[in-house]
């Protein structure tokens, strides 16, 4: 992995390579500041009142009180967070189960028209939610799902099945089949083989799929904005914009709400980085 800085290790340390190293690190650090400072500014502004926010934007908060955070929480963020959690968890479970189920059928069972099914399911990867938007609104209104959690759960599941199936299928194709065959000879049913053997073997890719789905569902905005309009079912991304229009003059509360909604997903990313990266490299690398 010695791509650039190798000169520092393989060749003798010269003045030039030391200088290059100094440049490299200053660049990485500056870029890190550009990336992180806006986020720190957001969290810090959550501690400020309007007077301070309109003052020097680089100043630290004069008092470290959680007032804005508490207000943001009580004025809607709690409800949005509950909606987001519900929609995210429910759609993650549905997506991963249906996708694993489908991947099993596509890799382990004799099925007529298999290439057709593969093409149909994976072809969904190319279709974008934006294009389906107007017909979906009418459809969901017609079947009475408009402005319900179900609308988001079903849509997030349907639009993410292609990607999850793609990942899990690729993983299942690489799994040895000796165990299934042994179980089948011992009289296990297909259902038993799926639940007891194949699904547990797929655990790493299942976790990756869940992480990628959570990242998508937690942050999704277009569907959530179009298909919900009451604060009772709004998820965080949409709730934030309505919080903004309701408390538009009280900036500190808005900054606090933004910070609260960003935090869980950043923590999740750090906790599950390994699985996340696996999902990405499987998804793009194939």
């Amino acid at each position: 992995m010695t791509v650039m800085a190798a000169s520092g290790r393989t060749a003798r340390p010269t003045f030039g390579s030391a200088l290059a190293k100094a440049f490299l690190y200053s660049f990485l650090i500056c870029l890190g500041i550009v990336v992180l400072y806006p986020l720190v500014w957001m969290a810090l502004n959550g501690f400020k009142d309007n007077g301070q926010i309109f003052g020097d934007p680089f100043a630290l908060p004069s008092r470290w009180t959680w007032g804005n955070y508490v207000q943001a929480w009580n004025r809607g963020v709690r409800d949005y967070l509950v909606s987001s959690l519900l929609v995210t968890v429910a759609s993650a479970i549905c997506t991963v189960l249906i996708s694993a189920w489908t991947a099993y059928g596509l890799t382990r069972t004799p099925m007529p028209g298999k290439p057709l099914v593969v093409g149909l399911v994976l072809g969904g990867l190319m279709l974008s939610p934006t294009v389906a938007l107007i017909p979906l609104v009418r459809m969901l209104q017609a079947i009475g799902l408009y402005n319900t959690y179900w609308a988001l759960i079903i849509l997030y599941t349907a639009f993410r099945i292609p990607f999850s199936t793609f990942l899990i299928r690729a993983y299942m194709l690489g799994l040895p089949k000796d165990l299934d065959e042994a179980a089948r000879i011992d009289g296990a049913s297909e259902g038993q083989i799926f639940w007891r053997i194949t699904l547990p073997l797929c655990q790493p890719i299942i976790i990756s799929c869940i992480i990628l789905h959570v990242l998508f569902a937690w942050n999704e905005y277009l569907f959530a904005m179009v298909f919900t309009n009451g604060s009772a079912v709004q998820t965080l991304p949409v709730g934030l914009t309505s919080l903004m229009s309701k408390n538009g003059t009280n900036y500190g509360v808005v900054f606090a709400a933004m910070t609260i909604s960003a935090l869980p997903i950043v923590l999740l990313f750090f906790a599950a980085q390994r699985y996340f990266i696996r999902g990405l490299s499987e998804g793009i690398g194939k």
Binding site: M1, M4, A5, L39, S128
Partner: protein
């Protein structure tokens, strides 16, 4: 299903004659996915074309078939051309930063001495990508504000007062300000993907290059670049597809304004379909997005197929 035929190594089950019902019954494994994807992903796309040939009277709810009139209207709608240009700008600038820039950055990071350091920098740069575009969009909405914003205050502090702008309020800078936010948010993601691709390059290739006396730049150009070509190609295609589907950040930051100068196809579709209630015309705009994503999608298929043959 205990009597189901055994599968062969390629994952294609060996077909056995005489028990066709078992074959058909295995369709139950895929039924859920086929129904959901068919109903909520494919059918709306087909329906979109039907809607795009109609005009709906919002008062009476009556729809009339008007053929291709909505598409003709597209050609004469100046905002559509602004939007198309903005989407194209989005694609071009994103290719520079999120493909070109991310590639170089990934190579720099993967060249660092210890795995702990590499992991640290990849994670730091990735953080904005984990956060929802609504949050980052709102954040930059504030950063670009003339009165409380970080950007103008920063420019003032370093003595570049002549550059001070109402970034999102000006017709000339709004779309660039939005695209800049998007680069800030997205480059860490593509850096991570390039880092994964670079990690797959066998080490001995670099050792051999060092023995041949190749310097760092030479190794970047002659080893890293050609061996991550597939990833680069894919990233370009994915970036273009994404650029033509942009919606969230524009919606949150300017909603297409001022004076429709920062409209993209997605927000113009929303404006027409849901604010003006021109479902038919909105659907015609959606069809343009569909056409672009189909072309890039076909390019992607062709690219991955070709690559598979090469390997």
């Amino acid at each position: 299903m205990e009597g189901a035929p055994l599968s062969n190594a390629a994952g294609e089950p060996a077909a056995k004659a005489g028990r066709p019902f078992r074959h058909w019954s295995s369709l139950r494994w895929v039924a859920g996915a086929v129904i959901l994807v068919g109903w909520f992903v494919y059918y709306p796309i087909v329906d979109n074309f039907i809607v795009s040939t109609t005009d709906e009277d919002i008062f009476t709810g009556e729809t009339t078939n008007i053929g291709l009139a909505n598409y003709e209207r597209l050609l004469h709608d100046p905002v559509v051309w602004v939007a198309l240009w903005n989407n194209t700008l989005y694609a071009l600038i994103s290719i520079i930063f999120q493909v070109g820039g991310a590639f170089v950055l990934a190579a720099l990071i993967e060249g660092l001495g210890s795995e702990r350091q590499r992991r640290f920098w990849r994670a730091i740069y990735f953080i904005p990508s984990a956060i929802s575009i609504t949050v980052t969009g709102l954040l930059f909405y504030f950063i670009y504000q003339p009165d409380i914003g970080l950007l103008n205050a920063g420019l003032r502090r370093i003595g570049l007062e002549q550059l001070i702008q109402p970034w999102l309020g000006s017709e000339h800078t709004a779309i660039y300000a939005i695209i800049a936010m998007s680069q800030w948010q997205g480059f860490g993601y593509s850096t991570l993907l390039f880092a994964i691709a670079i990690q797959k390059i066998p080490r001995d290739l670099y050792d051999a290059a060092v023995m041949d006396g190749a310097g760092p730049l030479r190794r970047l150009w002659s080893v890293t670049l050609p061996l991550t070509r597939e990833m680069t190609g894919l990233m370009i295609i994915v970036t273009i597809t994404g650029a033509f589907q942009v919606f969230n950040e524009v919606m949150v930051m300017t909603a297409g304004g001022p004076n429709n100068r920062s409209q993209v196809l997605g927000t113009w579709l929303y404006q027409q379909g849901f604010i003006q209630n021109n479902f038919g015309y909105g659907a015609a705009i959606a069809a343009v997005i569909f056409a672009v994503t189909m072309i890039t999608g076909a390019a992607q298929l062709w690219y991955t197929r070709r690559r598979r043959v090469e390997l």
